[in-house]
Amino acid sequence: MNWLVELVLFILLLTTAVLALSVRDLLAAAAAATAFTFTMALLFVSMGAIDVGFTEAVVGAGIVGVYFIAAVFQTSRRTRD
C-alpha cells in the first residue's frame, strides 16, 4: 500500500519536474515548480521524514513559491524554451 502511494508520488514528481522545465509561461513554470516541491514534501512524509516534509512544505513550497512569483513579476514572464 505504502509503496503504491510512493510510486504515484514519484510519477507525479517526474511529471511536475518535466512540466516545470518545459512550460513556456514562467508563471506556470513557477506553479509547476511549487507543485513539484509540494509533491516532494508529501514524498518525504510518506518516507517517514515528517520534519523534512514539513520544512519542505513551508520553506520550499511556501517561501520559494512567493520568491518565484516575486521574481517573475520583477522580470519577464515569457520564455523561449
Binding site: 517526474l14 522545465l21 520553506v59 522580470t75
Partner: protein, 124 residues
C-alpha cells in the same frame, strides 16, 4: 527481480530527477529555467538522503513509548533527516540569491534569455 526493483526503483527515480535537473541547469537557455533545474536537482539529492534514511517497518524519529528506543530498528534514522533540514534551507538561500541575481540581470539587460543576453553584453 521484483525484489531488486522494489529495493532500488526509488534510487533510479531519483537519478532520473537528478538528470532532469542537471539538464535544466545546463541546457535550458532561460535563466529562470536554470533556477528551476537547480531546485529539481537539489531536491532530488535531498530525496536521496531521505530515501537512505528509510527503514522498513520503522516509525518516525519522534520518541514513542510504544517502541523501545534501544533497538534502532524501530525508528527511522534521524541523522539524514536533520541534515536534509539544513540542506533545504541552504537550497532556499541559494534560490533567493539566484533570484536576486536574475532581477539584477534583468534590470541591467532587460532579458533573461542567455543568447540575447550574450549578444547584448557583447555589443557593449
Amino acid at each position: 527481480m521484483i525484489e531488486f526493483l522494489h529495493s532500488y526503483y526509488a534510487y533510479w527515480a531519483i537519478i532520473l530527477l537528478l538528470v532532469i535537473g542537471l539538464y535544466g541547469m545546463l541546457v535550458k537557455t532561460n535563466l529562470m529555467k536554470k533556477v528551476i533545474g537547480m531546485i529539481i536537482f537539489q531536491n532530488a539529492i535531498i530525496l536521496l538522503f531521505v530515501a537512505a534514511a528509510f527503514k522498513w517497518d520503522a516509525t518516525v524519529p519522534v520518541l514513542d513509548p510504544a517502541y523501545p528506543s534501544e533497538d534502532p530498528v524501530n525508528y527511522l534514522n534521524p541523522l539524514p533527516h536533520t541534515l536534509m533540514l539544513t540542506a533545504i534551507v541552504v537550497g532556499v538561500a541559494i534560490v533567493g540569491v539566484a533570484f536576486a541575481l536574475l532581477i539584477a540581470i534583468y534590470r541591467n539587460y532587460g532579458t533573461l534569455e542567455e543568447p540575447v543576453l550574450m549578444e547584448r553584453m557583447r555589443s557593449e
